[in-house]
């Protein structure tokens, strides 16, 4: 019997998909693009992402939990949809792959600077492959364990309370920023990942609680982001925060225990867990869309092919900045999909409802 995902696991899965490599740069981007009290910009982000999830839950409700592919294929002929599926798969596949590559490149800044990054990338991809072949239920189980293995790290925030000063936050609201549209898109990409819940419909129970899991995962993420950002704004001074490229690394490096120091060396490793889940989920989404086009192909062969393709693509950008540019641009596409896809589906559902062709 195929097991269904429970709301808690959906929440954890979505949370782990959403949190990834962006967390390292997020506080800095907030300070740089939005200036004083930039963390406040997270609030509209939460509102927007929650609204987006609301759209998705509307699709879930109106479509009565049917797979989104079924909804589309009911009205639009398949061959017309194929390019669309292909586009979705391509964007998701490469997005996931670039996140993995960025993780590896940042890691190489800390240690192993002369090893070929693609060796590490290969190892990450193999882990992802092992995870993806067993299906979404196993992914969610692994994500849950990964969540518990990495969740305790947020307690380390307590370490920064003694040096924290509210004065450093300044009373000014979002002053001294620049390039705010680009910044907004970049910061919003920190929330991306929830949109993949639209593909989970066939794997969840058809009740309201399923979508509550997605909301909860998003909210938990938001709480973490906001607390981390406030800590950064009160611990570092604004000018300093703007200069630090990866403030989270500096935060972690500041922690000293009597028996171990420079925790960023170890804890950056632990961030592999959320990054791995993010990568796996995007690839899984790509795999789901490709499977719609090639239903005959064996699942493990398909995942192997997809991962092989993405691995070869990840050879292209060589530097951290180049990867950053790829991620930013793909981030636009993924954000577009996050909003466009549910809207499109809602339109289809409304048309279908008018035509009275909704199947039970």
């Amino acid at each position: 019997m195929p097991e269904k995902l429970r709301p808690f696991h959906i929440a954890v899965l979505m949370h782990m998909t959403q949190s990834g490599i962006v967390i390292f740069t997020l506080p800095r981007n907030l300070a740089d693009y939005f200036g004083t009290n930039g963390w406040l910009f997270l609030v509209p982000c939460i509102v927007v992402s929650t609204f987006n999830i609301y759209l998705i839950s509307l699709v879930f409700r109106l479509g009565q939990g049917r797979s989104v592919f079924e909804i589309m294929e009911q009205t639009i002929p398949r061959p017309v949809l194929y390019p669309f599926y292909g586009g979705l798969a391509a964007v998701w596949l490469v997005f996931g792959c670039m996140i993995g590559k960025k993780y590896v490149l940042i890691f190489q800044m800390l240690s192993f600077p002369t090893t070929n990054p693609m060796v590490f990338k290969l190892a990450v991809d193999i882990l992802a492959f092992l995870m993806i072949t067993k299906g979404i239920y196993s992914i969610s189980k692994a994500a849950t364990l990964f969540f518990w293995l990495s969740a305790w790290m947020y307690l380390l925030m307590l370490w920064f309370f003694p040096a924290f000063r509210w004065e450093r936050l300044t009373p000014f609201i979002l002053k001294g920023g620049h390039n705010q549209f680009k910044g907004a898109m970049e910061i919003y990409s920190a929330f991306l990942g929830y949109e993949l819940s639209i593909l989970l419909f066939p794997y969840v129970n058809k009740n309201k609680k399923a979508m509550a899991g997605v909301y909860a995962g998003n909210l938990y993420l938001a709480v973490l982001y906001i607390s981390l950002a406030i800590i950064c704004f009160g611990f570092f001074s604004l000018g300093q925060l703007k200069k630090l490229l990866y403030p989270l690394l500096d935060l972690l490096a500041y922690i000293q225990f009597p028996f171990i120091e420079r925790l960023e060396n170890l804890l950056y490793g632990l961030f592999l867990f959320p990054v791995l889940v993010t990568v796996v989920m995007y690839w899984w989404a790509a795999q789901e869309s490709v499977r719609r086009m090639l239903p005959r192909i064996k699942l493990s062969v398909l995942s192997f092919l997809l991962i092989a393709i993405s691995y070869s693509i990840s050879f292209i950008p060589k530097t951290l900045d180049a990867v950053g540019v790829w991620i930013t641009n793909l981030g636009y596409a993924v954000t577009g999909i996050a909003f466009g896809f549910p809207v499109l589906l809602l339109l289809l559902l409304l048309i279908q409802r008018k035509g009275g062709e909704v199947r039970a």
Binding site: V12, L130, K134, K141, T144, L145
Partner: protein, 473 residues
């Protein structure tokens, strides 16, 4: 169906069948025109005297027919059944045309003794022995309920090992029972010698390093598993009982947790999970820090660590593997030798070799501490099977960290997690109660809450009767 002549059990047939079985005993009673055939070492001598020899002594030939009306004598018309009967410890009595089987099974066996591999400090000390009837009696005397059901199966083409599946009706999930029974019946092999072997035939993923079924040799553990809605399998001639389904975290609890006060039990459980972390990561962290991540060493430890590494000629990973292999050799030698010599090996190996290795500059003393503490931590894990698996995994992790440092460690852990999340036990998730998340179970998995709080059975057993007790304090 017409019984063909081959199938009619005659004395000649049977003796032919057991041709060249020197241990077969055949006694004639010419005055009664009766013959008895049996294996003396499988039957209980007292029973033989009481049920056959004494009556035969008293009776005349015609009185025998009456004797055989008693229910312990089972008339058998099939040659094959007689052969099987004799093999299983029956006495075959041939009287005229008729053949009767008397079950006098009672071979010599070890008496019930203390458990060697799963010792507890407080609580019952008896352990299963090799005889399944004795083992069943150890369980029956703890569960005086007609709801304790026992299914009997037989496996092994030549060994014909009897396997008993025990469960409690209305508590255990019959789907699991059915599944387990199917799996056991599907086995095609010549002989099964132990419960440990049997598990590997019936596990969901026999190639995994992790045991997916809990094995125990303690009747009290078996009974508590039964009461929790799990299924116990007992194999004849083996002191190992198998409990299924099991979860990864179940292997970290010991019956001692329940026999002591709850605060102590909780502390011990947490200690064991700490031991898991130490076993997996201690030596690996040493390798990782000394090979790649020198920044992580605090100032106060820097000199100690660097000085201890100073004279060592090998890279840390080889050094660590060398010492780990040494410890495993010691452990294995100790396990194979009689207890007294085993202790000597421990002292010679641990103290003499360890000390000498440090003085000779072959290893650093910090490493000795790391290796020893992770070995000790591995023995804290109550299940021998699990502790052995984890010790094996540790080698993989050490090699990974030797290559890639911390990220190798994390990747190793990720590999374990991914593997664990793919595992199932009788089709249920091996990671219960973390995935699927059952917070209700946590109070009996990660801690040992007071008994008044342990009111429900574990979710993994998918019981229809989950309330375990109602007495609210």
């Amino acid at each position: 169906m017409e019984p063909d002549t081959q199938n009619i059990p005659t004395l000649r047939h049977i003796l032919d069948e057991f041709d060249q079985c020197a241990d077969l005993s055949h006694r004639r009673f010419p005055e009664l025109s009766a013959d008895i055939v049996y294996f003396p070492h499988t039957v209980d001598n007292n029973l033989l005297i009481q049920e056959i020899l004494l009556p035969f002594d008293r009776l005349q030939a015609d009185g025998l027919d009456k004797l055989f009306l008693q229910s312990q004598f089972v008339e058998t018309r099939e040659s094959k059944a007689v052969v099987v009967g004799i093999l299983e410890g029956c006495v075959a009595v041939f009287h005229g045309e008729a053949v009767y089987l008397l079950d006098a099974y009672g071979p010599e066996g070890r008496s019930v003794q203390q458990s060697e591999t799963e010792t507890v400090i407080a609580g019952p000390h008896d352990a299963f022995v090799e005889s399944a009837p004795t083992n069943l009696s150890l369980i029956r005397r703890r569960i005086k309920s007609s709801h304790l059901k026992i299914i009997r199966c037989e496996i092994g083409e030549i060994s014909k090992t009897t396997v008993y599946i025990l469960y409690i009706k209305d508590i255990a999930n019959l789907k699991y029972v059915q599944d387990l029974q199917n799996r056991i019946n599907r086995i095609e092999t010549d002989a099964i010698n132990d419960g440990g072997t049997l598990t590997q035939f019936i596990e969901d993923m026999p190639n995994s390093v992790f045991p997916q079924f809990l094995t125990t040799e303690r009747p009290d553990v078996a009974v508590s598993k039964l009461a929790a809605g799990r299924i116990i399998t007992i194999v004849d001639n083996s002191p190992t009982a198998i409990s299924a389904p099991s979860s990864f975290f179940e292997f970290f609890s010991s019956p001692d947790d329940y026999y002591q006060r709850w605060a102590l039990g909780t502390a011990l459980r947490l200690l064991r999970f700490l031991a898991l972390v130490i076993t997996i990561s201690f030596t690996a962290m040493y390798v990782s820090v000394t090979t790649f991540h020198y920044e992580m060493i605090p100032e106060a430890l820097l000199r100690t660590l660097a000085e201890s590494r100073n004279r060592v000629p090998f890279p840390p990973v080889y050094e660590a593997l060398l010492m780990e292999i040494m410890i495993e050799l010691l452990r294995e030698a100790g396990a194979r030798l009689p207890t007294k010599i085993g202790q000597t090996i421990g002292i010679v190996g641990g103290i003499v070799i360890g000390q000498a290795a440090v003085q000779a500059g072959l290893t650093s003393n910090v490493l000795i501490i790391a290796v020893a503490s992770s070995a000790i931590a591995s023995f804290v894990i109550p299940s021998y099977m699990m502790s052995a698996s984890i010790r094996l995994i540790r080698f993989g992790i050490i090699i990974l960290t030797g290559i890639w440092g911390n990220i190798g460690l994390v990747m190793g852990i990720a590999l374990i997690v991914i593997h664990l999340s793919n595992l199932t036990s009788l089709g249920s998730s091996y990671l219960t109660p973390i995935a699927p998340m059952k917070t209700g179970d946590w109070k009996d998995v990660f801690i040992r809450a007071p008994f008044s709080k342990l009111s429900s059975r574990p979710s993994q057993s998918k019981t229809m009767n989950s309330i375990r007790q109602k007495n609210k304090k």
